[in-house]
Each structure stands twice: as C-alpha cells, then as structure tokens.
C-alpha cells in the first residue's frame, strides 16, 4: 500500500479525505486503484488520453514523476504520493 496525499482542491473527488491508501505496482495502477473507489479521481490528474495533465504535478517520495518514469514510475510499499495542482492565489 502507498499513501496518496490529496490536496484541498482534489479532496471532493475522494470524499473529502486528506489522504487515501492505494495499491499498485506503478503510479498508473495506483491512480486506477483510487479511481475504482472514487470514480472521477483519475480524470483530475489525467487527460482523456490517459496522459498526465501539464498543470497537475505528481511526486513519488518528493520526486516529480516527470523526471522519473512518468505514470509508469514504480511505486513501492510505504511510498508517499503527493499531488500538486497549479494554483495562482496570492
């Protein structure tokens, strides 16, 4: 199980939870796993073609997955997944 930390903007998609546990060998599998329980979650992170949205960053243990293996980045037991949508408030 990995721990997905959900930012305020995306919490409505997971029933208001601040973090959710998820299974998967890769980031994509993990997102699918969360989406099975919270339909619509994946659509917040991925475009209709299943690619990562350019304004939503995903980190596995504080590393941006764009510089790792993208959605195929391996995820291990206990990893922490952080999701950061772009925000502009100031």
């Amino acid at each position: 199980m990995a721990n997905v930390r959900v930012p305020a903007m995306l919490r409505p998609a997971v029933g208001g939870e601040r973090s959710v546990a998820a299974d998967g060998r890769t980031l994509r599998e993990l997102i699918d796993n969360v989406d099975q329980r919270h339909p619509g979650f994946a659509g917040q992170l991925l475009d209709p073609d299943g690619q990562q949205r350019s304004f939503v960053n995903i980190y596995v243990n504080d590393e941006d997955v764009r510089y790792l293996g993208g959605l195929e980045t391996p995820v291990a037991e206990g990893d922490v997944i952080s999701i950061l949508p772009a925000v502009a408030g100031g």
Binding site: A8, F55, A86, G89
Partner: protein
C-alpha cells in the same frame, strides 16, 4: 541569457546614522547581518508584484528590515473584502489605490524606505522596464497569466524570483534563480480557464497570507545578504490544517522552452493567449 547566482548586486550603502544603528540594532547584532549587511539591505531594491495577501506581509517586513527601495505593482483599489488578509491596508483606505495605501503605511513603518509605486497593470509591454532595475522580485500575483509573465520577465532579465501561492488552508513558497529552473519547469502549461478556482472563488484563510508572505520576505533577505540556503529547487508546502511543512524537489527541466537547453522563448509573449485568460496582477 547569462546564468547568475541570483543574488543581489551586493552594493553596500553609506554608513549608518545613529538612528539607523538603533533601529536595526537587532539585525546588526546578528553576525550574519552586521552593519555591512544592514547597509546592503538599505541599498537593495525589491519589487513586489501585487499588494494583496502575500504582498502585504512581505512589504511590511521588508520595509521594517530596511530594504531601501521597495517597488510595488498593483492597479487595484482597496476593497472591503481584501481586509481580512491584506493587512497593509486599513478600513480608511477602502476605495483608494492600493499603491497609495502601501506607500503611506510603509512610510510610517520605516521612513528609510523609498517606495516606488506602479499603479498600473504589468504587461508584456512594460514588464521588462519595470523589473530591470530591481535586485529581487517577490511574486504575489493571483492569476496564471501574471505568473507566467513575471516568471519569463525575471528569467530574461536574470532576476531572482521569490514565489508564493495560496489556496484555502494551504500555501507554497520557493525561489527561482535564473538558470536553476523556473515556473515553466514546475508547471509547463497553465490549466484551462476555469479549471482551477481562484482565492475569490475557493476562499483563503487570511492568516495563511502572513505565513507564506513572511517566508517570501525571509527568502528575499537571505538572497540580498547571500545567507543560508534559499528555497531553490525545493518547493515548500504548508498545510495549516495539519500544521505540516513539507518539501518536494523541483528540478530545472532541460526541455523547458524558456530556461532549458534549447529554449524557444526569447522574449515576452502574449500571456492572455497562452493562458486563455486576461493578465491581471492583483494580489
């Protein structure tokens, strides 16, 4: 585009007066600051983009710290709905230009400070001219077109950019040094218009502005004095509900169209077209 270490020009201002020695005594007694450091602050020029939630605490602390020239860009007027978080403005300032309110407040905080007010919209036409004379830029804008505009202008001019954002109970802060990554490396493209709610739509805990804006002031002073380890290539995340600070790494993207190995952006572009939304620099 030449790379810089991102620090200020390091100019040391004239010797401190007796009043200044008293005013800044608790800075001067810090070995890392001292009289020379304080004189550097007095000679420094910092530009604040937006006199809003982030710009308010940043401006107050930078002025109190004795940053000698503080530029402020904001074309808005003070609204009642600003006052729960934009602490530089008072009730009596409602309806007045924010830059006037800032100028008066900072003059009271510290008469050493020269406030340069830009009561105008920052645009692709004027941004380079406005920013070019400053040592550090503090971003407190509240929309994506302004964030990409400020990012690109700072990179093209080789200026350090101290960034901060707010959303509800969460905040982020980091420093972009030219050549070491930029906002486009962090977010290659803006969200489609309407996909991400603004603070006006989503709300923000007013005191959050103090946390993030003050961190921006601290990072600015560190850059000016070349102290410590700035938030470079690190994005600081603050969640006030869990009262947690965390960091994620934000590397420079070698494919970045602005600061990558083969850049395609060499001048400011049309940011309204890029973001599909109008540029504003309101805080």
């Amino acid at each position: 585009m030449s790379e810089t270490n991102g620090t200020a020009n390091g100019t040391v201002g004239p010797a401190l007066s007796l009043d200044q020695a008293r005013r800044y005594a608790r800075h001067i007694i810090l070995p890392e600051v001292g009289s020379i450091g304080q004189r550097k602050l007095l000679a420094a020029k910092v530009l604040l983009i937006g006199a809003g939630g982030l710009g308010s605490p940043a401006a107050l602390y930078l002025a109190a710290a004795g940053v000698g020239t503080i530029g402020i860009v904001d074309y808005d007027t003070v609204d009642l709905s600003n006052l729960h978080r934009q602490i530089i403005h008072g009730h009596a300032n409602i309806g007045r230009p924010k830059v006037d309110s800032v100028r008066e407040r900072l003059a009271d905080v510290n008469p050493d400070v020269n406030v340069v007010a830009y009561n105008e919209l920052l645009t692709s036409e004027n941004a380079l001219d406005v920013i070019k004379d400053y040592d550090v830029v503090v971003n407190g804008s509240d929309n994506f077109p302004a964030r990409y505009l400020v990012n690109d202008a700072c990179y093209l001019l080789g200026k350090p950019l101290v960034d901060g954002t707010l959303f509800r109970f969460e905040g982020r802060a980091n420093v972009f040094l030219p050549g070491q990554g930029c906002y486009r490396c962090l977010f290659p493209a803006p969200p489609p218009p309407g996909a991400v709610p603004s603070c006006a739509e989503a709300g923000v805990l007013g005191a959050m502005c103090g946390v993030i804006g003050t961190i921006q002031a601290v990072e600015t002073i560190k850059l000016l004095l070349e102290l410590g380890e700035p938030l470079v290539n690190r994005l600081l995340l603050f969640d006030s509900l869990s009262m947690e600070f965390r960091e994620v790494r934000i590397p420079r993207d070698p494919n970045c169209p602005l600061c990558g190995d083969n850049p395609t952006i060499h001048e400011l572009i049309d940011y309204e077209a890029f973001c599909g939304a109008p540029v504003t620099t309101l805080g």
